[in-house]
């Protein structure tokens, strides 16, 4: 039955060559797309010592210790693979040169000498959660997270507000100069900010916004994509509704926020998702504007840590996972919404 389900294909025919190729391709794709992400997620739970191991183990493993009677500290366990004690699991008391002084946990009275080449450490699955906790204790992760969150949330709110107001004006009023304004805004779609890095930097620095989150927020909020997207949607809202509201004593401002804005919710949601994605992931512009590490976003912090030699991979990996987590959660919840929204509007 399950096989019949798997072999469901476009035609009514058998499971033919194209179906085999399809499945081979898809499984390879899952491996290539998710493999690296899974790998970094697993690695982020390994201790620094385990990360140095080569070849690496698949799962995060840590040496096993045991408390043995007569010893205050927990002792590390080893499996003996050669010599007279082969097959036993012994605890090491100390190591002297090539010889490990060990005891049998079941019989802790006698010390046993074992050649260190005759034993391998006992290891068990263990998550090095300290990779994550130390981010908050030693690496100011909370600050970077807050910086990123602040920029993302504030920029998104302003983007949605300003873009929707402009879109409302451009879709629902017939005023002189409307076409000119619209064409001007659309024309800026052709000039991505990457071309104007230097003059934008001048403007931002003259406004005293270098090393301030606002230096990242303000240049980003007047997105032509957002105006265009919302305008196209608002054009589909019947003008009669606006007239009805005007007959109901609503001011133009009230028409905007009580009628048009709630009715544009689907388009607003798409813009919110885009804006969150843009701002959370933005790299080049914050790199230029934010030079002080207290102002770093998560992306900048990640980048600067990976350049520092003394940064431990264990912390870097954990930080990477924490950075991709919010977007991943949003995607997991809104997956269908995001994919259809992007497919329809064709923007990223």
């Amino acid at each position: 039955m399950s096989l019949a389900f798997l072999t469901r294909t476009r035609g009514r025919g058998r499971f033919d060559l194209t179906d085999w190729l399809t499945w081979a391709y898809l499984l390879l794709a899952v491996f290539l797309m998710f493999g690296p992400i899974l790998w970094i997620a697993l690695s982020s739970f390994k201790t620094e010592a385990a990360l140095q191991e080569y070849p690496p183990t698949f799962l995060p493993l840590a040496p096993v210790t045991a408390t043995v009677e007569g010893f205050d500290e927990p002792l590390q366990l080893f499996r003996i693979i050669a010599g007279e004690h082969q097959g036993k699991v012994l605890a090491q008391v100390r190591r002297i040169g090539l010889v490990g002084k060990m005891v049998d946990p079941a019989n802790p009275g006698a010390l046993i000498d074992v050649n260190i080449n005759d034993r391998v450490p006992e290891r068990a699955f263990a998550l090095a959660v300290e990779n994550y906790t130390s981010l908050f204790e030693r690496f100011n992760f909370g600050l970077y997270f807050w910086n990123s969150l602040f920029i993302t949330v504030v920029a998104t709110i302003i983007t949605v507000l300003f873009n929707s107001m402009a879109a409302f004006a451009l879709s629902k009023y017939h005023f002189r100069g409307r076409t000119v304004v619209f064409v001007l805004i659309i024309a800026t779609l052709m000039i991505p900010p990457t071309i104007n890095l230097i003059p934008i930097y001048l403007v931002v620095s003259q406004l005293g916004l270098v090393n301030s989150p606002w230096g990242v927020i303000w240049p980003a909020v007047a997105t032509p994509t957002g105006v265009f997207l919302l305008r196209q949607y608002m054009l589909t809202i019947p003008d009669d509704l606006l007239d009805a509201a005007r007959m109901d004593h609503a001011s133009e401002w009230k028409v905007y926020w009580r009628i048009v804005l709630p009715l544009s919710a689907p388009a607003l949601a798409v813009l919110v998702i885009f804006s969150v994605m843009w701002r959370w992931n933005e790299f080049l512009w914050p790199l230029i504007v934010l030079n002080r590490s207290e102002e770093f976003t998560l992306q900048l912090a990640l980048n600067s840590f990976q350049g520092e030699l003394q940064t431990a991979w264990s912390n870097l990996l954990a930080m990477t996972i924490l950075t991709l987590l919010p977007i991943t959660l949003v995607f997991a919840v809104l997956q269908k919404y995001i994919t259809t929204g992007i497919a329809q509007s064709g923007v990223k």
Binding site: M33, P56, I200, V203, W218, S251, T328, A343
Partner: protein
């Protein structure tokens, strides 16, 4: 649970109403002043101010930077140098030989970018098309597979770069796997050719889901009765693909190609974090050259960087005009 959600919903609704109600009186006063039609300008104002400050003004200022010298950021401190910056960038004995140019690093970036654009766009479109065709089949778990391809699109470039850096490092999992299979290992990001291969690969990995999604939407917009008619006409699978699917997909395809070209010309983030442009300048692309010339290295050569951006702008402008044409024909088609 339900009532808790309701309470939250009502709370959000009240907050929303209270926030917008604050502006009711000022906006009403403005409306009395402007009349019901010209109030549109008030609605446009915030967006236009931001546009003017951070888009229109910089476009004009860019010309001044490109035609002036020194490392001063203030325009009044910068001497006018005419087209010197462009002349410096374009001084070259043989454009195919970066070493023969005055700014050899710029031309190396141009060469790298050209190769990058051709390879990245070419292979990405190919894989996206194949993937879209496969996802358009009636296979189980289609939504899941679509998400598999799309998920990396949402990841930040820095995260993408770090994921692959970890896989590709000297003692990383890829080399371990190769060694396990008895094959020689490579120091992937230190070998110039391999490093270039990987920046192309990683940027395809990160972005193909987006184009797959658009192509898939294009495929799904082809009415099924066309396929049924072809089936009645006894067309083979290959003929259906080459004579029906591809021609009807062409408008979407054009949009996808131009969009990906525009993005590829401006590639920077993942590559900067993954290789930093190295080894040497093997993976240095134009935008990184602009960034480093203008912001990272001392003295900051703003003029040269602005001139380089304007040259890039010309390329982008041409590509965008092509895109607009393509989009229009899609809208009309």
């Amino acid at each position: 649970m339900q009532s808790a959600l309701d309470t939250i919903g009502r709370g959000v609704g009240r907050l929303y109403a209270a926030a917008f109600d604050l502006l009711e009186w000022p906006m009403l006063a403005l409306q009395r002043l402007t009349g019901a039609q010209r109030i549109a300008w008030i609605f446009l104002l915030p967006n236009l101010v931001i546009f003017g400050t951070f888009t229109f003004l910089p476009i004009i200022l860019n010309f001044f930077y490109a035609t002036s010298g020194s490392d001063a950021i203030l325009l009044q401190d910068r001497p006018y140098v005419g087209l010197d910056n462009f002349a410096t960038l374009l001084a070259c004995e043989n454009y195919l030989q970066p070493n023969s140019c005055e700014r050899d690093i710029f031309w190396r970036a141009v060469h790298n970018t050209a190769w990058f654009v051709v390879l990245q766009v070419g292979f990405m479109i190919l894989f996206s098309l194949v993937t879209a065709l496969i996802l358009n089949r009636d296979i189980p778990f289609r939504g899941f597979f679509r998400s598999v391809f799309f998920y990396p699109v949402l990841l930040s470039p820095v995260v993408v770069a770090l994921i692959w850096k970890w896989v590709l490092q000297r003692f990383g999992v890829l080399n371990a796997a190769l060694e396990g299979a008895g094959m020689p290992t490579v120091n992937w990001l230190v070998d110039a050719d391999w490093a270039f291969f990987w920046i192309v690969f990683v940027s395809i990995w990160a972005h193909m889901g987006f184009y797959t999604l658009i192509l898939l939407a294009g495929l799904q917009s082809i009415p099924s009765d066309v396929y049924e008619a072809a089936e009645m006409d006894g067309a083979s699978k290959w003929r259906v693909f080459s004579r029906i699917t591809m021609p009807l997909l062409m408008p979407t395809m054009a949009v996808v190609i131009v969009l990906s070209l525009i993005r590829a010309v401006q590639a920077f983030d993942e590559i900067f974090v993954l290789t930093g442009g190295g080894p040497g300048s093997a993976t240095l692309l134009i935008l990184q050259f602009i960034y480093e010339t203008g912001f990272a290295y001392q003295p900051r050569l703003y003029g040269l960087a602005a001139a380089a951006s304007m040259l890039m702008a010309v390329v982008l402008l041409v590509l965008t005009l092509v895109q607009l044409r393509a989009t229009r024909s899609r809208a009309e088609g």
